[in-house]
């Protein structure tokens, strides 16, 4: 249990949400590199929303 930081970044018009540990420094406007754990990605049919 402990505090963390929710942050949103903007990439080519897509808003992405991040959960950062309290040790990570972030300030509005700061350039940042991000990574997605695609092992946890879900793929859905656009329109029906059904899982693929």
């Amino acid at each position: 249990m402990g505090s963390d930081i929710l942050a949103w970044s903007d990439f080519e018009g897509i808003t992405l949400s991040h959960r950062l540990s309290q040790e990570e420094h972030c300030e509005t406007g700061e350039p940042v590199s991000v990574t997605a754990d695609v092992a946890k990605a879900s793929f859905f049919e656009d329109g029906t929303g059904a899982r693929l």
Binding site: G2, A7, A39, F44, E45, A50
Partner: protein, 326 residues
């Protein structure tokens, strides 16, 4: 203890079809949570199980007993409501024993059951007080105690913690979990609070528009959502959604670096070959930042490792605020 079998259940209020051809099997001793947004039909379904709402079609069985049209008092259930529903003029002891007294249970047995329930819920010192002299958490304990003394086979909870502050909610959540472990009773719990659902449930039934969208363990509902609604309903912050075309390899991609890298993961769809170029929605639960902002600006690139197929790109933090996890 009792299992619950719901088959082809329909509930209508006039022209409004609240619960639609619903099938649900709840195991003996299971803790099942009905989770969904307001108006999805979860409380209506719970009330139908408790006999407080008439069904328009279908059947309800407790074990092998058809209870579709059985009176609530004869179903062997205990209900706990969000609003406590305590009698304000009665003491805690009188509130807890009311149902037993009405049923003509002998006084020694009533005293024994009230003592047992009050000790279990740690409210023995409150038995002489009236509800107005209790905190919200204490009132809800009394309401749970009143349900406990009835020797119910099935306990129904309708958002019992919604009126409590965050600290009390966390405490009572733990108490309810312990109670389930101690009693081993079948419990059906309605909430719109995903934390409650994920921490309490053996299985979660996620509902929307009167239909169960997914019935599964908390981990599977969280990590393998059956559809986009379930994926985006659960989780805070919400899942990141990225539209793109499903393509099996990095080659011949033109949808941009984010989509390219995500699509190159080797995740396969059974019908991939048939639908390779149809529009897809990619949802990613966790997006992490990395400490090296040294990527070429304006373009992203992918990085493979033993565990990760990762994507990097330069972005900008647009908003930041402190949060708390627990």
């Amino acid at each position: 203890m009792s299992s619950v079998a719901i088959e082809n259940l329909d509930i209508r209020y006039g022209n409004v079809h609240v619960v639609k051809s619903l099938d649900l099997q709840i195991k003996d001793g299971e803790f099942l949570v009905l989770l969904g947004p307001s108006g999805c039909g979860k409380s209506t379904l719970l009330n139908a199980i408790g006999g407080l709402t008439d069904v328009s079609g279908g059947t309800l069985h407790f074990n092998d007993r058809d209870v579709t049209w059985t009176d609530p008092k004869d179903r062997g259930i205990g209900m706990v409501f969000q609003s406590y529903a305590l009698y304000p003029t009665m003491t805690v002891e009188r509130n807890m024993s009311f149902g037993l007294r009405i049923a003509g249970v002998p006084r020694p047995e009533i005293e024994k059951k009230v003592k047992w329930a009050s000790e279990l819920l740690q409210i023995t010192q409150l038995l002489d007080r009236k509800p107005s002299a209790l905190s919200g958490g204490q009132r809800q304990r009394v309401a749970i105690g009143r349900a406990l003394v009835r020797d119910a086979d099935i306990f129904l909870f309708d958002e019992p913690l919604s009126n409590l502050d965050a600290k009390l909610r966390a405490e009572l959540r733990l108490e309810i979990k312990k109670l389930h472990k101690a009693l081993g009773s079948t419990m059906i719990y309605v909430t719109h609070d995903q934390i409650e659902a994920l921490t309490l449930a053996d299985r979660i039934a996620v509902m929307k528009d009167g239909i169960i969208q997914q019935l599964d363990t908390p981990l599977n509902v969280y990590n393998k959502p059956a559809n986009e609604f379930v994926g985006t309903f659960l989780g805070s912050p919400a899942m990141n959604k990225i539209a793109g075309a499903f393509l099996p390899k990095m080659t011949a991609l033109s949808s941009g670096p984010v989509r390219s890298a995500l699509m190159s993961t080797g995740i396969r769809s059974p019908e991939r070959s048939k639908t390779a170029r149809r529009q897809r929605l990619v949802c990613v639960r966790s997006i992490c930042t990395l400490p090296t902002p040294e990527m070429p600006h304006g373009r992203g690139r992918s990085l493979s490792s033993s565990r990760w197929e990762a994507i990097f790109w330069p972005g900008r933090i647009s908003r930041a605020l402190p949060s708390r996890t627990g």
